[in-house]
């Protein structure tokens, strides 16, 4: 059981050959009013639910290779690679918790957000019917499951972030964020006397270490952390989640913050929590930190924890209308 499993993702050509989009399908970006995103977003979900981004796979393999061969940590990371290969090959969900489905839509002037929302919701309903997504939207108090992944009030699920930009392309990113890792996210208010954390980068560091220790294996470690310094209780968490979309291994634009991220990742990997909390040297795959502005009286550190199965993907309609997927 202890041989190194090699990741064997199918080629992009094979993935494209299984697409739900008709051959050569293109959007007409000169007529945004008539644009229908439904099929293209279904295809995005088909990919994100079954296929991990290459940077995440590379980080998992690197973690596996750092563990002692044959150890529980090594075998667990090896099983994760096996699972990645299997889900991709048979196009089944990587994880039964296909998560809360969160969309970021960036678009030029002229696209109707109301229409886009309705189309993307229809894509989520169809993806649920096809067992690419588990119905993950329940009434809070009764626990009653809508069965379709739709929140009838259009408030919570799926979640949308719209932004108009001055480019001709339409870009849709999606994240499937599991409940287990969402539950171990945390928000701190500095100063924090119990932690001995003040309103400085040292204080921020203490919050992150504390959150990872409290999470243990419960967020399906090794995790990826998005950390927003500042903002308010809402915008901080929003930003922290968005930071998980950043590719692992890409540098933070701020060199000081980049060094902070790298040093802290190395420190977290000495905690001994390891994959799934079994012990080991692979506790965090990466940390992405960004500083925001804040109210003078408030200093929040908002931490979103993403499980190792970091399902994210982006669909870009190029200026000529061709859909392009990064997975």
């Amino acid at each position: 059981m202890s041989e190194c499993v090699v990741p064997t993702l199918t080629s992009k050509e094979v993935v494209a050959s299984k697409s739900v989009l008709p051959d050569g399908w293109k959007a007409d970006l000169t007529n945004l009013k008539a644009l229908d995103l439904t099929l293209a977003v279904m295809e995005l979900l088909r990919r994100t639910t079954s296929r991990l981004p290459q940077d995440v796979i590379d980080a998992i393999v690197k973690g596996r290779d750092a563990e002692e061969e044959g150890s529980r940590a090594f075998n667990t990371l090896n099983d994760m690679v096996r699972n990645i290969n299997l889900a991709d090959g048979q196009v089944t969900p990587l994880c039964q918790d296909t998560g809360s489905v969160i969309f970021w839509v960036r678009h030029p002037f002229g696209l109707s957000q109301r229409a886009a929302r309705a189309q993307i919701r229809a894509a989520v309903v169809e993806a649920t019917k096809r067992s690419w997504l588990r119905p993950n939207c329940v009434e809070s108090l009764s626990g009653k499951n809508s069965g379709t992944n739709m929140d009838p009030f259009h408030e919570h699920h799926p979640a949308f972030h719209f932004e108009e930009w001055d480019r001709p392309e339409v870009e849709i990113s999606v994240m499937q964020k599991g409940g287990g890792c969402e539950n171990v996210g945390a928000q701190y208010r500095l100063p924090d006397a119990a932690l001995g954390a003040g309103r400085d980068i040292k204080g921020v560091r203490k919050c992150i270490i504390d959150a990872v220790v409290k999470a243990q294996g419960q967020g399906c470690s090794p995790g990826i952390l998005g950390v927003a310094i500042g903002g308010d209780r809402v915008t901080g968490y929003e930003k922290s989640k968005e930071l998980i979309l950043r590719k692992l291994g890409t540098a933070n634009a701020d060199p000081k913050m980049d060094a902070f991220e790298k040093d802290l990742t190395a420190d977290l990997n000495t905690l001994g929590i390891g994959p799934m909390g079994y012990g080991g040297v692979t506790t965090a795959l990466g940390i992405h930190v960004e500083e925001m502005y804040r109210h003078p009286a408030s200093f929040y550190v908002s931490i979103s924890y993403m499980c190792w199965s970091s399902r994210r993907g982006t669909l870009t309609f190029l200026a000529n209308g061709q859909p392009s997927y990064d997975l």
Partner: protein
Amino acid sequence: MIRLTTPITEDQVRQLKVGDEVLLNGRVVLSRDIGHKFMKEQKPEWLKPILENMVIYHCGPVVKKNADGSWSFVAAGPTTSIREEPYQADVIETYKVRGVIGKGGMGKKTSEGLQKTGAVYLHATGGAGSLLAERVKRVVDVKMLEEFGSPEAFWIIEVEDFPLVVTMDSHGGSLHEIVAQQSQERAKALMA
């Protein structure tokens, strides 16, 4: 590697120790949040023959209904177990459950329940949904599907060589407690 087939006797369970790797075979019953609250508060009699000497799996699967009306599991990894901490010990005792499969481990109350009744906590790899669904050979039955919805229903399945690690045994041992303590000490040093 230890091969176990459900139903399991108390004797078999008492021999298991933290760190043992187990391949589980036979019937397993899925239950998670709503199911555990229901079992503790309502103690339904009809579940007794289904759960006695059996194993509960904390899992909300992705399922698929086949053309002939039968069900298949598409993805079926474990969910976080600690949410069942307020209920688990009672459920184990009431229904004489011999094993609980999940991820992330459980707390003191559950550990006491495992010791008292004679049961173990078995850890599965979280997120390995496709890999673990492959080891589900058959969906035997499902209870409370309408009432609870598919992620929360009592699915009764048959598994073959389901790969698990004993992380809490019936003698008070817990790998999770050890890792938590060691990481807390290391965190103190990192924060100093």
